[in-house]
Amino acid sequence: MKQFQYTRPSTQQMALDAISKPGAKIIAGGTNLVDLMKRGVTAPDKLVDINHLPLKNITPTHTGLHIGSLALNSVVSENELVLQKFPLLSMALKAGASPQLRNMATVGGNMMQRTRCTYFYDTTMPCNKREPGTGCGAMEGFNRMHAIFGTSNQCIAVNPSDMCVGLAALDAVVIIAGRKGERRIPFTEFHRLPEDHPEIDNHLAKDELIIGVEIPDNNFAKNSYYLKVRDRQSYAFALVSVAAALDIDNGVIKKARLAMGGVAHKPWRLFDAEKWLIGKPISEENFKQAAQMAMAGAKGYEYNSFKLNLAPATINEALKHAAGLV
């Protein structure tokens, strides 16, 4: 039987040392990692349990809100500051998984969760993400849940997270600790597209630790909405989800933020549509046009072409909700 070590560092430095060893892997809530270990997708030699590090805090900074990487998804979604400043994040979190899972899942773990592509999970199937060079089972297989943006000929998997869609829309910044110190990267640049290396989900180095995310203050609280379309009302991953945030002045859009889930290998920000919406009055016509614009470059596969229609419909619907038109 595959044996593995388990350590529980009490300081960040110890954690960083531990994860720099070959075969070491961080475990936080374990809701994704343990599943992957059970299915044989990953087999770490050493689990570094970071749950005892002081990274659970949710604290205001002078420019926004800092959320520690070990803050639980359930705690963040109910946090008063989050609800008051960034209700979009709370909505996105509550749209994910189930209360039981959210009670275990952490912010860092959520960011690092791997795709739910069935070919990735089934070790008897080809998958370039799990085993580079074996091919992509989904490309010509059952790809109903798969990406329509930013795919490569190696991989069409999607990032399954809801929280990340909210954070991408809110211009969050990821704070990362490494042995050489801290660095910060914009949330939208944390995850990556598959290109020729689908086995790499994001830009976190193996010996780095996410310590938190920071969300800058904004004026979106009044007019934001997370809409998730799924096959059942709870406990299902998104077919398509949209995080929409608007800063509206007198019926005119001053700023807009839009991100989509369930459509790409990373939370998919709709920068062009956002830009186009600036200065436009809130109206279904404008929302529909923005939604169409957002679809540029989308490409469907055998079973997921419906997303080409569902995605703009969901963008429009989310914007209507955010603008108070529904």
Partner: protein, 721 residues
């Protein structure tokens, strides 16, 4: 002395406390001394043969006691007999474990690994590597309908003129498809097998019938059935998946023989999708025609269902069209397509649930074509006698059920024009669909023992897969004996007890209930004779007066002539209100009303829970359940509960379960008919019909997921309000 609670709301589950506190012991929760663990190894190819199996690494792994495959499996006598007729092709039948080197489906068990702990067995199982010779295979029903063959003797039938529907002034012909669905009860299938002696076996097994399992094992291992003790005290759901002896049960029994220790074998969740059957993927086509005023002229109903290459599974989905409505001309045709997938099996509402989806959808389509209310259309074609046999019904109050359900759902709020009602940005629709299922009464025996302290012991070998059989039986006995339910102990799930059939076909309350009824009456009569009066006897006093420690009867019970004189059915009608989002295609079930015409309701609380469970199953069937196979590999890609969707609480609104509650005068002394199947049958059609009413979009291929509704509703919105 009467327990008034029984008569008003009905008895609460007698095992409810045990179940919610975890005190109820299911088949996997026994630990006979020396027990070890078996884990199956599944084939990674879909069709072909095994060239070799490398078991060395597994055998060397820590804790491993044995690795058994067809190479070293002790001969299974029941298999040999079937195949000794030399020269003849192997007869079709249930799958034979470790029988030869043939691979008939992906995941087929090719070996069992036995080890001292479950984890070690599980790990060692991953070390077993087989070499195969692969052959081309077929797993797609759609691509193989051309090779379909007649399903048994009843493959084809006709009443009146074939294809008469085509001559009708108003007619339509449509195809309806259901994917295969899995039972996947919460409790995983599990068996513990223990050879007490060379030809004596005890099993703790998840089964819907301890007596049938006893017979099944006796046939496979050719030992006297009296030597086999089958225990199945609690069953955490089955829905038809535990009506036969499956390969994993055989594997555990063989393994226990080989390692000479008790072996426990519990399937994993993924195995539950491929190892214990499923509802077969079925294509159907219905042609239906009526006169302008809505009288049915004819129905033609074709079906092609999937089966395996080694067994013909025949569930007759087309029979609903012959017996549900009064229609002079009905022709049906049912075929099977053999695919390289394991066999399907009975699943709640077998055949009828599939057929009723097509028939109830077609009737709904016809109602719009005729511009007649769907209930009125059904009443216009109401069968007063059994259309198939011409016999009178033993009882039928379906017309009252239509009315009751329509009142409760608020049917008058339904617009006959599809896609014409919106509320808060959602399209609103109403639909209904009916179900029917034969009301059966089999034979059963019950032992009733009155003990000196006033405890009544009832014993019969039935299993309770969850509907609350024990509760229903205690309710019947309490009523007859006129004693509090708390004084009654019901013992079951043990093959040494008097005979009862398997729990299936919605027949247990009618069958075992009759045995309980008859035994109690006989026992009471015995007391009356002893005491010399016919009043309600004082049991403890009489026993004391006569210096008896107990008084008992063992009573066999079965139906009489009436079973042949009358056509016996249970009926249901389901009413559904849905909200459909016009642009995202999301369907929310907003309200459900189910009315059952299933005779006298013996146990109201558990009856309600049966109906609610069936309705939820029907919502799952309508909106989410679908087994998906990647035909390039012949393998399931959604064999887990994250990807195979069943409803969660958020999907289910309040469900009103209503009962006609009028006794059937002929079926049995209680006047009770079955309701397990009718709770589900017709529900998927009702949901699909409501979705059509909401959107104007007819979905004929289940499940109705958002992608099937997306993009079409812009026009619906324009047509609508």
């Amino acid at each position: 002395m009467k327990d008034s609670a029984i008569n008003k709301e009905g008895l609460s589950r007698i095992d409810g406390r045990l179940k919610v506190t975890g005190a109820a012991r299911y088949s996997a929760e026994y630990t006979p001394a020396g027990m070890v663990y078996g884990v199956l190894v599944g084939s990674t190819i879909t069709k072909g043969s095994i060239r070799s199996i490398d078991t060395k690494a597994a055998e060397k792994a820590p804790g491993v006691l044995a690795v058994i495959s067809h190479f070293n499996c002790p001969k299974i006598p029941g298999y040999q007999i079937a195949s000794t007729e030399a020269g003849k092709p192997e007869p079709k039948g249930t799958y034979k474990l470790f029988y030869n080197n043939k691979i008939l489906f992906n995941g087929q068990p090719i070996a069992v690994v036995v080890a001292d702990t479950f984890e070690r067995a599980l790990f060692a199982a991953t070390l077993v590597k087989a070499q195969y010779t692969s052959q081309a295979y077929q797993t797609s029903l759609k691509n193989n309908t051309a090779s379909a063959f007649a399903a048994g003797e009843n493959g084809e039938s006709k009443r009146g003129t074939v294809a008469a529907w085509k001559t009708a002034p108003v007619k339509l012909e449509q195809e309806y498809v259901i994917p295969s669905e899995v039972h996947n009860p919460m409790e995983l299938h599990s068996i513990i097998a223990h050879w007490d002696a060379e030809d004596k076996l005890t099993v703790w097994d998840k089964t819907q019938g301890v007596k049938d399992t006893q017979d099944g094992i006796a046939n496979i291992f050719k030992i006297p059935k009296e030597n086999i003790q089958v225990n199945s005290k609690f069953v955490g759901g089955a829905f038809g998946s535990a009506l036969q002896v499956w390969p994993h049960e055989v594997a555990a029994i063989i393994a226990a023989r080989v390692v000479k220790r008790p072996v426990k074998l519990m399937l994993g969740r993924a195995d539950m999708f491929t190892s214990v059957g499923y509802r077969p993927h079925t294509w159907q086509k219905i042609g239906i025609g009526a006169t302008e005023d809505g009288k049915l002229v004819g129905i033609s109903h074709e079906a092609i269902g999937q089966t395996s290459t080694y067994e013909d599974f025949n569930e007759e989905p087309v029979s609903v069209s012959r017996s549900t409505y009064a229609c002079p001309n009905v022709n049906t045709n049912y075929k099977l397509t053999a695919l390289d997938i394991g066999s399907p099996t009975w699943m709640r509402g077998p055949g009828e649930a599939t057929g009723a989806f097509a028939l109830e959808s077609a009737l709904d389509e016809l109602s719009y074509a005729l511009n007649i209310d769907p209930i009125e259309l059904r009443l216009k074609n109401y069968a007063e006698t059994d259309p198939e046999s011409g016999k009178p019904f033993s009882s039928k109050y379906l017309n009252e059920a239509y009315k009751m359900g329509a009142d409760h759902i608020g049917w008058t709020d339904r617009s006959p024009k599809p896609a014409s009602v919106t509320k808060d940005g959602w399209l609103i629709g109403y639909g209904m669909g009916g179900g029917m299922f034969g009301a059966y009464r089999d034979q059963a025996t019950c032992r009733a023992v009155m003990i000196a302290d006033g405890t009544l012991l009832l014993q019969t070998a039935v299993s309770d897969i969850g509907p609350g059989t024990g509760t229903a039986m205690v309710s019947i006995a309490a009523e007859i004996m006129d004693i509090p339910a708390g004084k009654i102990r019901f013992e079951m799930g043990d093959s040494s007890l008097p005979y009862a059939p398997s729990q299936g076909g919605s027949s247990i309350t009618a069958t075992v209930g009759s045995a309980v009824n008859d035994a109690c009456k006989e026992l009471k009569e015995k007391f009356s004779q002893l005491a010399g009066n016919t009043e309600t006897p004082d049991y403890t006093k009489i026993l004391k007066d006569h210096n008896l420690s107990k008084l008992e009867v063992t009573t066999a019970s079965k139906g009489g002539d009436n079973m042949n004189k009358y056509a016996m059915y249970s009926w249901s009608v389901h009413f559904v209100k849905v909200c459909v989002h016009p642009t995202t295609g999301v369907v929310k079930v907003d309200k459900v009303v189910c009315v059952a015409d299933s005779g006298h309701i013996v146990s109201p609380k558990t009856a309600r829970s049966q109906i609610v469970g069936g309705a939820i199953g029907g919502i799952g069937m309508a909106l989410m359940e679908e087994v998906i196979i990647d035909h390039r590999y012949g393998k399931l890609v959604n064999n887990n509960f994250a990807d195979y969707h069943i409803p969660v609480n958020a999907d289910i609104p309040q469900i009103e379960a209503l009962f006609i509650n009028k006794p059937d005068p002929y079926i049995n002394p209680m006047g009770a008919k079955g309701m397990g199947e009718i709770a589900l049958i017709g529900m998927a059609g009702a949901v699909a019909n409501a979705v059509y009413n909401a959107t104007g979009k007819r979905i004929r291929q289940l499940p109705i997921t958002p992608d099937k509704l997306i993009g079409i509703n812009q026009s619906a919105m324009v047509n609508g309000s």
